[in-house]
Protein backbone atom coordinates (compact mmCIF):
# COMPACT_ATOMS: atom_id res chain seq x y z
CA UNK A 1 0.00 0.00 0.00
CA UNK A 2 1.53 3.27 -1.11
CA UNK A 3 0.32 5.37 1.78
CA UNK A 4 0.54 6.15 5.48
CA UNK A 5 -1.83 6.73 8.41
CA UNK A 6 -1.42 8.37 11.82
CA UNK A 7 -3.66 8.30 14.88
CA UNK A 8 -4.31 11.83 16.11
CA UNK A 9 -5.34 13.36 19.44
CA UNK A 10 -7.86 15.95 18.36
CA UNK A 11 -11.40 15.55 17.06
CA UNK A 12 -12.52 12.64 19.23
CA UNK A 13 -11.79 12.69 22.94
CA UNK A 14 -13.83 9.57 23.65
CA UNK A 15 -13.03 7.81 20.40
CA UNK A 16 -10.28 7.22 17.85
CA UNK A 17 -9.30 9.52 14.98
CA UNK A 18 -6.73 9.11 12.23
CA UNK A 19 -5.43 10.92 9.19
CA UNK A 20 -4.20 9.12 6.09
CA UNK A 21 -2.55 10.00 2.81
CA UNK A 22 -1.73 8.03 -0.33
CA UNK A 23 -0.82 8.43 -3.97
CA UNK A 24 -4.17 7.22 -5.31
CA UNK A 25 -7.80 6.90 -4.17
CA UNK A 26 -7.59 3.10 -4.07
CA UNK A 27 -4.41 3.23 -1.96
CA UNK A 28 -6.08 5.75 0.36
CA UNK A 29 -9.06 3.42 0.86
CA UNK A 30 -6.69 0.52 1.54
CA UNK A 31 -4.73 2.49 4.10
CA UNK A 32 -7.94 3.68 5.83
CA UNK A 33 -9.02 0.04 6.06
CA UNK A 34 -5.69 -0.87 7.64
CA UNK A 35 -5.94 2.02 10.14
CA UNK A 36 -9.42 0.85 11.18
CA UNK A 37 -8.09 -2.59 12.09
CA UNK A 38 -4.90 -1.12 13.57
CA UNK A 39 -7.13 0.73 16.08
CA UNK A 40 -8.28 -2.70 17.27
CA UNK A 41 -5.13 -4.83 17.05
CA UNK A 42 -1.50 -4.98 15.91
CA UNK A 43 -2.11 -5.77 12.23
CA UNK A 44 1.50 -7.00 11.82
CA UNK A 45 0.44 -10.09 13.79
CA UNK A 46 -2.57 -10.78 11.54
CA UNK A 47 -1.83 -13.45 8.93
CA UNK A 48 -3.56 -13.07 5.55
CA UNK A 49 -4.96 -16.61 5.48
CA UNK A 50 -8.71 -15.95 5.06
CA UNK A 51 -10.31 -13.92 2.29
CA UNK A 52 -13.50 -11.90 2.05
CA UNK A 53 -14.80 -9.77 -0.77
CA UNK A 54 -16.44 -6.41 -0.17
CA UNK A 55 -18.43 -4.32 -2.62
CA UNK A 56 -19.69 -0.78 -2.11
CA UNK A 57 -21.52 1.60 -4.40
CA UNK A 58 -21.64 5.31 -3.56
CA UNK A 59 -22.28 8.63 -5.30
CA UNK A 60 -19.96 10.76 -3.16
CA UNK A 61 -16.43 10.28 -1.84
CA UNK A 62 -17.43 10.67 1.83
CA UNK A 63 -20.15 8.04 1.45
CA UNK A 64 -17.69 5.73 -0.30
CA UNK A 65 -15.25 5.97 2.62
CA UNK A 66 -18.01 5.68 5.27
CA UNK A 67 -19.60 2.64 3.59
CA UNK A 68 -16.26 0.92 3.00
CA UNK A 69 -15.24 1.19 6.67
CA UNK A 70 -18.77 0.20 7.79
CA UNK A 71 -18.46 -3.00 5.72
CA UNK A 72 -15.14 -3.85 7.36
CA UNK A 73 -16.62 -3.29 10.85
CA UNK A 74 -19.57 -5.51 9.91
CA UNK A 75 -17.13 -8.28 8.85
CA UNK A 76 -15.26 -7.93 12.16
CA UNK A 77 -18.44 -8.45 14.20
CA UNK A 78 -20.15 -11.15 12.14
CA UNK A 79 -17.07 -13.22 11.22
CA UNK A 80 -14.88 -12.36 14.27
CA UNK A 81 -12.35 -11.43 11.63
CA UNK A 82 -9.44 -8.99 11.58
CA UNK A 83 -7.74 -7.95 8.34
CA UNK A 84 -4.22 -6.90 7.44
CA UNK A 85 -4.16 -6.83 3.64
CA UNK A 86 -6.51 -4.96 1.30
CA UNK A 87 -6.72 -4.87 -2.46
CA UNK A 88 -9.17 -2.25 -3.67
CA UNK A 89 -10.43 -1.53 -7.16
CA UNK A 90 -12.71 1.42 -7.58
CA UNK A 91 -14.00 2.51 -10.99
CA UNK A 92 -15.51 5.96 -10.43
CA UNK A 93 -17.96 6.34 -13.34
CA UNK A 94 -20.90 6.83 -13.33
CA UNK A 95 -20.66 6.39 -9.54
CA UNK A 96 -17.99 4.92 -7.26
CA UNK A 97 -18.10 1.15 -7.42
CA UNK A 98 -15.63 -0.32 -4.94
CA UNK A 99 -14.62 -3.96 -5.15
CA UNK A 100 -12.13 -5.20 -2.58
CA UNK A 101 -10.39 -8.35 -1.55
CA UNK A 102 -9.78 -8.28 2.20
CA UNK A 103 -7.31 -10.75 3.71
CA UNK A 104 -6.80 -11.59 7.36
CA UNK A 105 -7.83 -14.23 9.88
CA UNK A 106 -10.22 -15.12 12.67
CA UNK A 107 -9.48 -13.33 15.96
CA UNK A 108 -7.14 -15.46 18.08
CA UNK A 109 -6.79 -13.94 21.55
CA UNK A 110 -3.60 -15.88 22.25
CA UNK A 111 -1.75 -14.33 19.30
CA UNK A 112 -3.61 -11.08 18.63
CA UNK A 113 -3.25 -8.31 21.19
CA UNK A 114 -6.68 -6.73 21.06
CA UNK A 115 -7.11 -3.06 21.84
CA UNK A 116 -10.39 -1.16 21.72
CA UNK A 117 -13.39 -2.33 19.66
CA UNK A 118 -14.32 -0.11 16.69
CA UNK A 119 -18.11 -0.08 16.54
CA UNK A 120 -18.93 2.42 13.80
CA UNK A 121 -17.50 4.75 11.18
CA UNK A 122 -18.72 8.33 11.50
CA UNK A 123 -19.12 11.41 9.32
CA UNK A 124 -17.85 13.50 12.24
CA UNK A 125 -15.17 15.84 10.82
CA UNK A 126 -14.72 13.39 7.95
CA UNK A 127 -12.52 14.63 5.14
CA UNK A 128 -11.44 13.01 1.88
CA UNK A 129 -9.86 15.04 -0.90
CA UNK A 130 -7.16 15.17 -3.55
CA UNK A 131 -4.46 17.85 -3.52
CA UNK A 132 -1.44 18.20 -5.82
CA UNK A 133 -1.86 14.65 -7.04
CA UNK A 134 -2.02 13.06 -3.54
CA UNK A 135 -5.07 11.84 -1.65
CA UNK A 136 -5.85 12.76 1.98
CA UNK A 137 -8.44 11.59 4.53
CA UNK A 138 -9.48 12.21 8.12
CA UNK A 139 -11.73 9.71 9.91
CA UNK A 140 -13.20 9.49 13.42
CA UNK A 141 -14.16 5.98 14.53
CA UNK A 142 -16.73 5.33 17.26
CA UNK A 143 -15.31 2.95 19.87
Amino acid sequence: MAGTYRFIEDGAQADVAFTAEADSLTSLLEICGEATFAAMTDTKLVKPVERHTVTVQADALEDLLFDWLSELIFLKDTEEFVASRFRVRCPDKPSFHLQALVEGEAIDRRRHQMNVDVKAATYHEMDIHQENGRWFAKVVLDV
Binding site: Q13, T41, K76, F81, R109, V116, Y123, H124, M126, V143
Partner: protein, 459 residues
Protein backbone atom coordinates in the same frame (compact mmCIF):
# COMPACT_ATOMS: atom_id res chain seq x y z
CA UNK B 1 -34.60 28.09 20.92
CA UNK B 2 -31.88 28.83 23.48
CA UNK B 3 -29.19 26.37 24.52
CA UNK B 4 -28.57 25.85 28.24
CA UNK B 5 -25.41 24.34 29.70
CA UNK B 6 -25.31 23.18 33.31
CA UNK B 7 -21.81 23.49 34.75
CA UNK B 8 -19.63 25.12 37.38
CA UNK B 9 -17.18 27.83 36.25
CA UNK B 10 -14.32 25.31 36.39
CA UNK B 11 -16.19 22.69 34.37
CA UNK B 12 -17.30 25.29 31.84
CA UNK B 13 -13.66 26.27 31.33
CA UNK B 14 -12.68 22.66 30.54
CA UNK B 15 -15.49 22.05 28.04
CA UNK B 16 -14.23 21.86 24.47
CA UNK B 17 -15.48 24.31 21.83
CA UNK B 18 -17.27 21.46 20.07
CA UNK B 19 -19.81 21.28 22.92
CA UNK B 20 -20.88 24.89 22.40
CA UNK B 21 -21.13 24.48 18.62
CA UNK B 22 -23.01 21.20 18.85
CA UNK B 23 -25.56 22.28 21.46
CA UNK B 24 -26.20 25.42 19.36
CA UNK B 25 -26.89 23.18 16.34
CA UNK B 26 -29.31 21.10 18.43
CA UNK B 27 -31.17 24.24 19.53
CA UNK B 28 -31.86 25.00 15.83
CA UNK B 29 -33.47 21.64 14.98
CA UNK B 30 -37.12 21.72 13.80
CA UNK B 31 -39.80 21.34 16.48
CA UNK B 32 -37.48 21.68 19.50
CA UNK B 33 -39.36 22.70 22.66
CA UNK B 34 -38.11 25.27 25.23
CA UNK B 35 -34.33 24.74 25.06
CA UNK B 36 -31.48 22.39 24.19
CA UNK B 37 -29.62 21.22 27.29
CA UNK B 38 -26.12 19.99 28.01
CA UNK B 39 -25.29 18.28 31.31
CA UNK B 40 -22.12 19.06 33.34
CA UNK B 41 -20.36 15.92 32.07
CA UNK B 42 -20.84 17.16 28.51
CA UNK B 43 -18.19 16.70 25.86
CA UNK B 44 -17.89 16.60 22.10
CA UNK B 45 -19.98 13.85 20.47
CA UNK B 46 -21.40 13.12 17.01
CA UNK B 47 -24.22 15.49 16.11
CA UNK B 48 -25.44 16.10 19.69
CA UNK B 49 -22.76 16.56 22.35
CA UNK B 50 -22.47 13.76 24.90
CA UNK B 51 -24.62 15.04 27.78
CA UNK B 52 -27.17 16.50 25.33
CA UNK B 53 -30.90 16.56 26.06
CA UNK B 54 -33.60 17.90 23.73
CA UNK B 55 -37.38 17.51 23.61
CA UNK B 56 -39.36 17.76 20.38
CA UNK B 57 -43.00 18.34 19.52
CA UNK B 58 -44.47 15.07 18.23
CA UNK B 59 -46.12 16.72 15.20
CA UNK B 60 -43.60 19.36 14.10
CA UNK B 61 -40.43 17.82 15.55
CA UNK B 62 -37.79 15.37 14.38
CA UNK B 63 -36.08 12.22 15.59
CA UNK B 64 -32.29 11.95 15.16
CA UNK B 65 -29.91 9.02 15.72
CA UNK B 66 -27.29 11.69 16.54
CA UNK B 67 -29.41 12.61 19.57
CA UNK B 68 -29.37 9.06 20.89
CA UNK B 69 -25.91 7.76 20.04
CA UNK B 70 -24.76 4.68 18.16
CA UNK B 71 -24.80 2.59 21.34
CA UNK B 72 -28.58 2.70 21.82
CA UNK B 73 -29.58 2.26 25.49
CA UNK B 74 -26.07 2.21 26.72
CA UNK B 75 -26.89 2.29 30.40
CA UNK B 76 -26.08 1.47 34.02
CA UNK B 77 -27.25 -1.28 36.31
CA UNK B 78 -26.68 -1.58 40.06
CA UNK B 79 -27.00 -4.72 42.20
CA UNK B 80 -26.67 -4.82 45.96
CA UNK B 81 -25.24 -7.79 47.88
CA UNK B 82 -25.66 -8.91 51.49
CA UNK B 83 -21.87 -9.16 51.70
CA UNK B 84 -19.39 -6.79 53.28
CA UNK B 85 -15.89 -5.93 52.09
CA UNK B 86 -14.27 -8.13 54.77
CA UNK B 87 -16.20 -11.15 53.46
CA UNK B 88 -15.31 -10.45 49.82
CA UNK B 89 -11.63 -9.41 50.13
CA UNK B 90 -10.24 -12.91 50.82
CA UNK B 91 -11.87 -14.24 47.64
CA UNK B 92 -11.70 -11.10 45.51
CA UNK B 93 -9.06 -12.39 43.09
CA UNK B 94 -11.04 -15.59 42.50
CA UNK B 95 -14.31 -13.67 42.17
CA UNK B 96 -12.89 -11.26 39.56
CA UNK B 97 -11.41 -14.18 37.58
CA UNK B 98 -14.80 -15.91 37.55
CA UNK B 99 -16.59 -12.70 36.53
CA UNK B 100 -14.03 -12.10 33.75
CA UNK B 101 -14.65 -15.63 32.44
CA UNK B 102 -18.44 -15.49 32.83
CA UNK B 103 -18.93 -12.15 31.02
CA UNK B 104 -17.07 -12.07 27.68
CA UNK B 105 -15.46 -8.70 26.99
CA UNK B 106 -13.35 -7.00 24.33
CA UNK B 107 -13.30 -7.10 20.52
CA UNK B 108 -15.36 -9.67 18.61
CA UNK B 109 -16.67 -11.75 21.53
CA UNK B 110 -19.71 -14.06 21.56
CA UNK B 111 -22.11 -14.65 24.42
CA UNK B 112 -23.14 -18.07 25.72
CA UNK B 113 -26.81 -17.65 24.66
CA UNK B 114 -27.06 -19.22 21.21
CA UNK B 115 -29.90 -17.79 19.10
CA UNK B 116 -30.91 -17.95 15.46
CA UNK B 117 -32.08 -14.78 13.67
CA UNK B 118 -35.73 -15.25 14.58
CA UNK B 119 -35.03 -15.90 18.26
CA UNK B 120 -32.67 -12.91 18.47
CA UNK B 121 -35.43 -10.72 17.04
CA UNK B 122 -37.76 -12.05 19.76
CA UNK B 123 -35.16 -11.18 22.40
CA UNK B 124 -34.68 -7.70 20.92
CA UNK B 125 -38.38 -6.94 20.92
CA UNK B 126 -38.98 -8.69 24.25
CA UNK B 127 -36.18 -7.03 26.26
CA UNK B 128 -35.60 -7.98 29.91
CA UNK B 129 -39.01 -9.72 30.32
CA UNK B 130 -37.97 -12.11 27.49
CA UNK B 131 -34.84 -12.98 29.50
CA UNK B 132 -36.82 -13.61 32.68
CA UNK B 133 -39.17 -15.93 30.74
CA UNK B 134 -36.05 -17.78 29.51
CA UNK B 135 -34.80 -18.25 33.07
CA UNK B 136 -32.35 -15.35 33.28
CA UNK B 137 -33.39 -13.46 36.40
CA UNK B 138 -36.61 -12.96 38.33
CA UNK B 139 -39.84 -11.01 38.02
CA UNK B 140 -38.65 -8.84 40.92
CA UNK B 141 -35.79 -7.67 38.66
CA UNK B 142 -38.31 -6.24 36.17
CA UNK B 143 -39.93 -4.05 38.82
CA UNK B 144 -36.59 -2.27 39.30
CA UNK B 145 -35.79 -1.07 35.78
CA UNK B 146 -36.59 1.97 33.69
CA UNK B 147 -39.69 0.98 31.66
CA UNK B 148 -39.56 -2.44 33.38
CA UNK B 149 -36.84 -3.37 30.91
CA UNK B 150 -38.93 -3.14 27.75
CA UNK B 151 -40.01 -0.23 25.54
CA UNK B 152 -43.42 -0.98 24.08
CA UNK B 153 -42.58 0.93 20.90
CA UNK B 154 -40.19 -1.85 19.78
CA UNK B 155 -41.04 -2.89 16.23
CA UNK B 156 -38.83 -5.25 14.18
CA UNK B 157 -40.19 -4.06 10.80
CA UNK B 158 -37.52 -1.35 10.60
CA UNK B 159 -34.61 -3.67 11.41
CA UNK B 160 -32.19 -4.64 8.64
CA UNK B 161 -31.06 -8.28 8.32
CA UNK B 162 -27.53 -6.94 8.83
CA UNK B 163 -28.39 -5.51 12.25
CA UNK B 164 -29.79 -8.89 13.35
CA UNK B 165 -26.70 -10.68 11.97
CA UNK B 166 -24.41 -8.33 13.87
CA UNK B 167 -26.24 -8.64 17.16
CA UNK B 168 -27.25 -12.30 17.15
CA UNK B 169 -24.19 -13.74 18.91
CA UNK B 170 -23.47 -10.85 21.28
CA UNK B 171 -26.18 -11.21 23.94
CA UNK B 172 -24.49 -11.33 27.35
CA UNK B 173 -21.26 -9.59 26.30
CA UNK B 174 -19.74 -6.47 27.82
CA UNK B 175 -18.08 -4.85 24.79
CA UNK B 176 -15.03 -2.62 25.11
CA UNK B 177 -14.09 1.06 25.45
CA UNK B 178 -15.53 2.52 28.64
CA UNK B 179 -17.79 -0.45 29.37
CA UNK B 180 -17.17 -2.24 32.63
CA UNK B 181 -18.40 -4.50 35.40
CA UNK B 182 -17.32 -3.37 38.86
CA UNK B 183 -17.40 -4.76 42.37
CA UNK B 184 -17.71 -1.78 44.68
CA UNK B 185 -17.90 -0.90 48.37
CA UNK B 186 -20.12 1.58 50.23
CA UNK B 187 -17.90 3.10 52.93
CA UNK B 188 -19.65 4.93 55.79
CA UNK B 189 -18.00 8.27 54.92
CA UNK B 190 -19.43 8.03 51.38
CA UNK B 191 -23.09 7.86 52.43
CA UNK B 192 -24.61 11.32 52.00
CA UNK B 193 -28.20 10.45 52.93
CA UNK B 194 -28.48 7.66 55.53
CA UNK B 195 -32.27 7.31 55.39
CA UNK B 196 -32.38 7.12 51.58
CA UNK B 197 -29.44 4.67 51.50
CA UNK B 198 -31.23 2.43 53.99
CA UNK B 199 -34.45 2.60 51.97
CA UNK B 200 -32.45 1.53 48.90
CA UNK B 201 -31.14 -1.52 50.79
CA UNK B 202 -27.69 -0.21 51.77
CA UNK B 203 -27.63 -0.64 55.53
CA UNK B 204 -24.42 -2.62 56.21
CA UNK B 205 -21.09 -1.03 56.97
CA UNK B 206 -18.78 -1.48 53.92
CA UNK B 207 -21.54 -3.23 51.99
CA UNK B 208 -20.56 -4.62 48.57
CA UNK B 209 -22.39 -3.68 45.35
CA UNK B 210 -21.97 -4.58 41.68
CA UNK B 211 -22.23 -1.99 38.90
CA UNK B 212 -22.52 -2.67 35.19
CA UNK B 213 -22.05 -0.28 32.24
CA UNK B 214 -22.86 -1.57 28.74
CA UNK B 215 -25.39 -1.31 25.93
CA UNK B 216 -26.79 -2.82 22.75
CA UNK B 217 -23.42 -3.86 21.23
CA UNK B 218 -23.12 -4.30 17.44
CA UNK B 219 -26.89 -4.52 16.99
CA UNK B 220 -27.54 -0.98 18.24
CA UNK B 221 -24.59 0.35 16.29
CA UNK B 222 -25.88 -1.18 13.06
CA UNK B 223 -29.34 0.35 13.65
CA UNK B 224 -27.62 3.73 14.14
CA UNK B 225 -25.47 3.34 11.01
CA UNK B 226 -28.45 2.13 8.90
CA UNK B 227 -30.64 5.12 9.82
CA UNK B 228 -27.84 7.68 9.54
CA UNK B 229 -27.78 6.69 5.85
CA UNK B 230 -31.57 6.38 5.43
CA UNK B 231 -32.20 9.80 7.02
CA UNK B 232 -29.63 11.55 4.81
CA UNK B 233 -31.72 10.58 1.80
CA UNK B 234 -35.03 11.24 3.58
CA UNK B 235 -33.94 14.76 4.60
CA UNK B 236 -33.83 15.85 0.96
CA UNK B 237 -37.40 14.64 0.53
CA UNK B 238 -38.61 16.55 3.60
CA UNK B 239 -36.61 19.70 2.81
CA UNK B 240 -34.56 19.36 6.03
CA UNK B 241 -31.02 20.72 6.32
CA UNK B 242 -28.58 20.39 9.22
CA UNK B 243 -25.10 21.89 9.61
CA UNK B 244 -23.61 18.48 10.51
CA UNK B 245 -24.19 15.15 8.72
CA UNK B 246 -24.22 13.38 12.11
CA UNK B 247 -27.40 15.37 12.90
CA UNK B 248 -29.29 13.55 10.13
CA UNK B 249 -32.94 13.38 11.14
CA UNK B 250 -36.48 12.77 9.91
CA UNK B 251 -39.85 14.14 11.00
CA UNK B 252 -40.97 12.01 13.94
CA UNK B 253 -44.35 11.32 12.30
CA UNK B 254 -42.84 10.39 8.89
CA UNK B 255 -42.65 6.72 7.80
CA UNK B 256 -38.84 6.81 8.14
CA UNK B 257 -39.07 8.46 11.57
CA UNK B 258 -41.52 5.85 12.82
CA UNK B 259 -39.47 2.95 11.44
CA UNK B 260 -36.38 4.27 13.22
CA UNK B 261 -38.33 4.83 16.45
CA UNK B 262 -39.47 1.17 16.41
CA UNK B 263 -35.99 -0.14 15.50
CA UNK B 264 -34.32 2.11 18.11
CA UNK B 265 -36.74 0.80 20.76
CA UNK B 266 -35.88 -2.80 19.76
CA UNK B 267 -32.17 -1.98 20.10
CA UNK B 268 -32.92 -0.42 23.50
CA UNK B 269 -34.70 -3.59 24.56
CA UNK B 270 -31.75 -5.69 23.40
CA UNK B 271 -29.57 -3.62 25.74
CA UNK B 272 -31.94 -4.30 28.66
CA UNK B 273 -31.74 -7.99 27.66
CA UNK B 274 -27.94 -7.83 27.45
CA UNK B 275 -27.67 -6.40 30.97
CA UNK B 276 -30.18 -9.00 32.21
CA UNK B 277 -28.20 -11.95 30.80
CA UNK B 278 -24.99 -10.48 32.25
CA UNK B 279 -26.76 -10.14 35.63
CA UNK B 280 -27.54 -13.87 35.46
CA UNK B 281 -23.85 -14.56 34.82
CA UNK B 282 -22.79 -12.27 37.70
CA UNK B 283 -25.10 -14.14 40.08
CA UNK B 284 -23.71 -17.51 38.97
CA UNK B 285 -20.12 -16.32 39.45
CA UNK B 286 -20.88 -15.06 42.99
CA UNK B 287 -22.70 -18.29 43.92
CA UNK B 288 -19.76 -20.39 42.71
CA UNK B 289 -17.13 -18.23 44.42
CA UNK B 290 -18.87 -18.09 47.79
CA UNK B 291 -20.35 -21.58 47.47
CA UNK B 292 -23.82 -20.49 48.52
CA UNK B 293 -27.15 -19.35 47.06
CA UNK B 294 -28.76 -16.05 46.14
CA UNK B 295 -30.92 -16.02 49.25
CA UNK B 296 -27.77 -15.55 51.27
CA UNK B 297 -25.88 -13.36 48.78
CA UNK B 298 -28.66 -10.95 47.87
CA UNK B 299 -27.58 -9.57 44.47
CA UNK B 300 -30.95 -7.90 44.03
CA UNK B 301 -31.41 -5.26 41.41
CA UNK B 302 -31.42 -1.70 42.78
CA UNK B 303 -32.13 -0.15 39.39
CA UNK B 304 -31.28 -0.10 35.66
CA UNK B 305 -31.22 3.16 33.68
CA UNK B 306 -30.65 4.06 30.04
CA UNK B 307 -28.44 7.01 29.12
CA UNK B 308 -28.63 6.86 25.28
CA UNK B 309 -32.29 6.86 24.30
CA UNK B 310 -35.33 8.71 22.94
CA UNK B 311 -38.76 8.27 24.49
CA UNK B 312 -42.22 9.79 24.32
CA UNK B 313 -42.87 11.31 27.75
CA UNK B 314 -45.27 13.80 29.29
CA UNK B 315 -43.82 17.07 30.54
CA UNK B 316 -45.35 20.37 31.61
CA UNK B 317 -44.32 23.23 29.33
CA UNK B 318 -45.53 26.72 30.23
CA UNK B 319 -48.17 25.20 32.50
CA UNK B 320 -49.50 22.84 29.83
CA UNK B 321 -48.94 19.05 30.01
CA UNK B 322 -47.64 17.85 26.64
CA UNK B 323 -46.38 14.63 25.11
CA UNK B 324 -42.86 15.17 23.81
CA UNK B 325 -40.11 13.08 22.21
CA UNK B 326 -37.20 13.45 24.66
CA UNK B 327 -33.72 12.62 23.32
CA UNK B 328 -31.11 11.81 25.98
CA UNK B 329 -27.56 11.19 24.76
CA UNK B 330 -25.16 10.64 27.60
CA UNK B 331 -27.88 11.83 29.95
CA UNK B 332 -30.06 9.92 32.41
CA UNK B 333 -33.73 10.13 33.27
CA UNK B 334 -34.11 11.63 36.74
CA UNK B 335 -37.79 11.46 37.63
CA UNK B 336 -39.07 12.69 40.98
CA UNK B 337 -41.29 10.72 43.30
CA UNK B 338 -44.51 12.04 41.79
CA UNK B 339 -43.90 10.33 38.44
CA UNK B 340 -45.87 7.21 37.54
CA UNK B 341 -42.92 5.30 36.03
CA UNK B 342 -40.95 5.42 39.30
CA UNK B 343 -41.17 1.87 40.78
CA UNK B 344 -43.59 1.33 43.63
CA UNK B 345 -40.71 0.64 46.03
CA UNK B 346 -39.17 4.07 45.35
CA UNK B 347 -42.32 6.24 45.35
CA UNK B 348 -41.30 7.88 48.60
CA UNK B 349 -37.79 8.54 47.30
CA UNK B 350 -37.67 9.32 43.58
CA UNK B 351 -36.06 7.39 40.74
CA UNK B 352 -32.55 6.01 41.36
CA UNK B 353 -29.94 7.55 39.02
CA UNK B 354 -26.73 5.56 38.53
CA UNK B 355 -23.70 7.63 37.54
CA UNK B 356 -20.60 5.78 36.36
CA UNK B 357 -17.25 7.31 37.19
CA UNK B 358 -13.81 6.32 35.96
CA UNK B 359 -12.58 2.93 37.15
CA UNK B 360 -10.17 4.58 39.59
CA UNK B 361 -12.33 7.22 41.21
CA UNK B 362 -15.74 5.76 41.99
CA UNK B 363 -19.38 6.07 40.97
CA UNK B 364 -22.57 7.55 42.43
CA UNK B 365 -26.13 6.64 43.27
CA UNK B 366 -28.40 9.69 43.15
CA UNK B 367 -32.16 10.17 43.38
CA UNK B 368 -34.22 12.05 40.84
CA UNK B 369 -36.33 15.04 41.86
CA UNK B 370 -39.46 16.73 40.61
CA UNK B 371 -37.29 19.82 40.03
CA UNK B 372 -35.50 18.03 37.19
CA UNK B 373 -38.92 17.57 35.63
CA UNK B 374 -39.52 21.30 35.54
CA UNK B 375 -36.02 22.40 34.52
CA UNK B 376 -34.66 19.60 32.36
CA UNK B 377 -37.40 17.35 30.98
CA UNK B 378 -36.63 15.02 33.87
CA UNK B 379 -32.95 14.59 32.97
CA UNK B 380 -29.57 14.63 34.65
CA UNK B 381 -25.95 13.66 33.99
CA UNK B 382 -24.66 10.15 33.18
CA UNK B 383 -20.97 9.96 34.09
CA UNK B 384 -17.87 12.01 34.69
CA UNK B 385 -17.03 12.86 31.06
CA UNK B 386 -13.64 12.58 29.36
CA UNK B 387 -11.12 15.43 29.26
CA UNK B 388 -8.28 13.61 27.49
CA UNK B 389 -8.14 11.67 24.21
CA UNK B 390 -7.46 7.94 24.19
CA UNK B 391 -4.19 8.45 22.31
CA UNK B 392 -2.99 11.00 24.89
CA UNK B 393 -3.96 8.73 27.81
CA UNK B 394 -2.04 5.83 26.27
CA UNK B 395 1.05 8.03 25.91
CA UNK B 396 0.87 8.97 29.59
CA UNK B 397 0.65 5.50 31.17
CA UNK B 398 1.10 1.87 30.17
CA UNK B 399 -1.77 -0.51 30.84
CA UNK B 400 0.33 -3.02 32.80
CA UNK B 401 1.67 -0.25 35.07
CA UNK B 402 -1.84 1.07 35.71
CA UNK B 403 -3.03 -2.45 36.50
CA UNK B 404 -0.19 -2.88 39.04
CA UNK B 405 -0.77 0.59 40.56
CA UNK B 406 -4.46 -0.16 41.01
CA UNK B 407 -3.62 -3.53 42.55
CA UNK B 408 -1.43 -1.77 45.14
CA UNK B 409 -4.43 0.42 45.97
CA UNK B 410 -6.58 -2.67 46.51
CA UNK B 411 -8.41 -2.70 43.14
CA UNK B 412 -8.20 -5.99 41.21
CA UNK B 413 -8.49 -5.36 37.45
CA UNK B 414 -9.13 -8.00 34.80
CA UNK B 415 -9.02 -6.82 31.22
CA UNK B 416 -9.11 -8.15 27.68
CA UNK B 417 -6.84 -5.28 26.60
CA UNK B 418 -4.03 -3.59 28.55
CA UNK B 419 -3.81 -0.69 26.08
CA UNK B 420 -7.59 -0.27 26.36
CA UNK B 421 -7.10 -0.17 30.14
CA UNK B 422 -4.59 2.70 29.86
CA UNK B 423 -7.14 4.67 27.82
CA UNK B 424 -9.59 4.50 30.72
CA UNK B 425 -7.18 5.82 33.39
CA UNK B 426 -8.77 8.12 35.98
CA UNK B 427 -6.79 11.18 34.84
CA UNK B 428 -8.51 11.02 31.40
CA UNK B 429 -11.82 11.99 33.07
CA UNK B 430 -13.28 15.03 34.80
CA UNK B 431 -13.43 15.00 38.60
CA UNK B 432 -16.68 13.12 39.21
CA UNK B 433 -17.28 14.79 42.60
CA UNK B 434 -17.31 18.21 40.95
CA UNK B 435 -19.60 17.04 38.15
CA UNK B 436 -22.09 15.41 40.52
CA UNK B 437 -22.06 18.45 42.84
CA UNK B 438 -23.47 20.56 39.99
CA UNK B 439 -26.68 18.50 39.66
CA UNK B 440 -26.93 18.07 43.46
CA UNK B 441 -26.61 21.82 44.09
CA UNK B 442 -29.12 22.62 41.34
CA UNK B 443 -31.61 20.21 42.96
CA UNK B 444 -31.90 18.11 39.79
CA UNK B 445 -30.81 14.93 41.53
CA UNK B 446 -29.46 14.47 45.04
CA UNK B 447 -26.47 12.50 46.24
CA UNK B 448 -27.10 9.33 48.24
CA UNK B 449 -23.98 7.14 47.97
CA UNK B 450 -20.54 7.19 46.42
CA UNK B 451 -19.19 3.72 45.58
CA UNK B 452 -15.48 2.90 45.60
CA UNK B 453 -14.24 0.15 43.26
CA UNK B 454 -12.38 -2.90 44.60
CA UNK B 455 -12.64 -5.06 41.47
CA UNK B 456 -13.06 -4.20 37.79
CA UNK B 457 -13.68 -6.22 34.63
CA UNK B 458 -12.73 -3.78 31.90
CA UNK B 459 -14.18 -4.29 28.44
Amino acid sequence: MPARLLASDDLMATMDDGVFRQITNVACLPGIVEHALCMPDGHWGYGFPIGGVAAFDLDSGIISPGGIGFDINCGMRLLRTNLTESQVRPRLEELMTRLFEAVPSGVGTRGFVRLDDRRFEEAAVGGAPWCVAEGFGTRADLAHMEEQGRLEAADPSGLSPRSIQRGRDQLGTLGSGNHYLEVQVVRPENVYDQAAARALGFDLENQVAVMLHCGSRGFGHQVGTDYLKIFQTAMKRYGLRTPDRELACAPFRSPEGQLYFGAMAAAANSAFANRQVITHQIRQAFCETFDTDLEELGLELVYDVAHNIAKVEEHVVNGVRRKLLVHRKGATRSFGKSQADVPEAYRALGQPVIVGGSMETGSFLLLGSDDSQVQNFGSTLHGSGRTMSRVAARKRIRGDKLQRDMHHRGIVVKTASLSGLAEEAGFAYKNINEVVDVVHDLGISRKVIRFEPIGNVKG
